[in-house]
Symmetry: C2
């Protein structure tokens, strides 16, 4: 697909991004260097990926892949949260009808692994729209995902299928699912490039088999997905934190919006790292200037918004976000979401919060897509997460 | 729910089952004793479960739960098989419609773990109707399922979500999903008892939270489930065996039928253990006398049927299968499926096959439901699988 001639007119974003909002790059970069210096073991300058088409090695300072055996103290899965339809009437086992019968649904499905001597706070990993737990498992190009990487780094890892998605498909509300071809739009929306061309610097394999896995790591909603405080999704994930206690939440894309609302619901979320969130909350009495039209901001009470100022929050953004509209909706939405990310940071910090935006190209890391944690340089991105957790005291082994 | 007075009229099957077809119990029991004697390490006489209502300990000769750390050489997940809808037309990124776009679907999702020094043949575990990979993970009462038990025993374990189910929900054919209350029927059909009463000897916890997990470990089809040679389900699982090479297939309930057809498609299935299969294949030119009406037998060519005589096959049946019709369809179907299991054994063995039926109550193991591998005595059932794999030379560490 990569050798077709493109007749598309769009500019090909590939340069480091200039943006209206910009993080304090200098500080971030210097803190990162300090962290890498302090944890030299396991961190090497080396090849972290290989461009399948050009054969060009992608070099960076990052951890090497750890190929030692994984040690798991406990592992398994469970369902959490949800509701029950109790149908009126009397159940007759000899002539069964729905009368008097139940239907359990709207729970989340959770798979977990706990290493020996685990750090006090587990990592809870939450997929985005159209995705499921696979997001955090094996990368599309077959390497270890965050599931295994952070297990190796001593964290208990809980991975969610949110209600009405994947293995949590049992929905109390009916749905019709249609197979609508749309993967070329996804290719742009997730910032691999403009179909059929990859962005020149993109951290994604050119092997067609990898793209095949990537397209297949989607699965449909089996019921309505509502973003709302008290919505089925936020309720179930809040119930997960009730069950497991304090932890750190990783969100991605559409679960960014769910995540803010869930952190408002439960005091057990002790920090959030949100990869490319697609929706944002703001205080109802102080909404920011409107930027863009996609996925409008969610107003919450000032009291609820204040809860998000009590925990460290990092928003991570990839590369190839356009600096001006391209006419391709899936790309241009990222102009909107990026601007809002900086707005959220400022709105939180102005109220005493501890929020930051880590725009990867601003610290010299180029080519990341909408899925930085599973891109070719995922171990480098994982190191940045380790660094953040360390800086914020979220990686302690003491409860 | 357990203390309600039942007004139901059915007999309460609870005694060892007498059946028209009966396996050679005596031989099976003696072989089992020999195996247990030969592998004394790890096998103890002890309490393997506790009846939550009566407090009565359930004793048996079985492995003790292993609580040491799990060692995993490699783990991850991938999608395999499936098809692609390529929509005619030209994709326009500026005005995207389905024209010129693709849709990848109908793959299976597979999660795997490989231990150090793995045995040569992995175990591939396939869920039944309405179920997903959870079938083999943590049991409803929170203990380790076959996923971890057989990893500990040195097997690479691959667990499937079949196409159009769970994490493999991306279907190329549309579907409408309705939440129809039916869990009281499921309670009978899966032979926990007759709602709201458990069978007296049933190997299932009386803790309502366990039943809650059990009901929630279901997830709907997101597209049609067709049982056919060359059907999407058989094709994807066959592709899995193409990818991983020779292995042993475990099926459950409705995947029993899929499993026979898949073993006809691929020479890489070196043995089948089928827990309570719900559908059967027979040679088109020699169909057996019809027993019952549910899920009719599937005729296959004599040549294809002969392929199933080349591999060892064990069918495992639980307890509380009625000996005469009760009037409850979900229970009475098991009279049919049990009779057909013995028919399949005989049809295979008459052609030189190596098939057996292991009816658990016939060897003194009582109370198993439709899910013997996750019942309270699951480690005892796991020991029987280990025994079978050993007897048939399927557990060697030599490739």
């Amino acid at each position: 697909m990569n050798d077709r001639t493109s007749s598309q007119r769009a500019p090909r974003p590939g340069k480091p991004d200039q943006d209206l909002y910009r993080d304090s790059t200098k500080e971030t970069r210097s803190a990162r260097r300090a962290f890498l210096a302090s944890t030299a073991a396991g961190l090497v300058g080396g090849v972290i990926g290989m461009d399948a088409v050009t054969g060009r090695a992608i070099a960076a300072v990052a951890s090497e892949a750890d190929e030692s055996d994984l040690i798991v103290r406990r592992q398994g899965s469970f369902m959490v949260g949800g509701s029950v339809i109790s149908n009126p009437g009397t159940f007759d086992p000899y002539h069964p009808t729905p009368a008097g019968q139940t239907f359990h649904g709207d729970h989340a499905y959770v798979e977990y692994q706990i290493p020996p001597d685990a750090r006090a706070l587990p990592l809870v990993m939450w997929h985005g729209a159209g995705q499921f737990s696979k997001t955090w498992e094996t990368t599309p190009d077959g390497r270890e995902g965050y599931q295994s990487v952070f297990l190796r780094r001593g964290f208990a890892v809980y991975i969610i299928d949110q209600p009405r998605r994947g293995n949590a498909g049992r929905s109390t509300v009916a749905a019709t699912i249609n197979p609508t071809p749309g993967e070329m739009s996804t290719f742009s929306g997730f910032r691999l490039g403009i179909w059929p061309n990859f962005f020149p610097n993109v951290q994604f394999s050119r092997d067609p088999a990898v793209l095949d896995q990537y397209f297949r790591q989607q699965t449909p909603n089996t019921g309505p997905e509502v973003v709302a405080d008290g919505g089925v999704v936020e309720s179930a994930v809040s119930a997960l934190f009730d069950k497991i206690g304090p932890g750190v939440l990783l969100t991605h894309s559409f679960s960014g919006g769910h995540g803010w609302l869930t952190a408002i619901r439960t005091p057990n979320i002790k920090g959030i790292v949100s990869y490319e969130p697609g929706q944002f909350v703001f205080p109802a009495d102080d909404m920011p200037p409107v930027v863009g039209a996609a996925l409008p901001n969610i107003p919450v009470s000032p009291t609820d918004f204040a809860k998000l100022t009590k925990i460290p929050i990092q928003i991570v953004l990839g590369d190839n976000i356009p600096t001006s509209p391209t006419g391709i909706t899936g790309l241009d939405n990222w102009i909107t979401f990026k601007a809002r990310a900086y707005q959220l940071r400022d709105w939180l910090n102005r109220r005493g919060g501890d929020a930051s935006v880590l725009s990867l190209p601003d610290i010299g890391i180029y080519g990341n897509t909408h899925f930085p944690f599973s891109d070719l340089n995922s171990l480098q991105i994982a190191d940045l997460l380790s660094e953040f957790l360390s800086q914020k005291g979220l990686d302690s082994r003491d409860a």
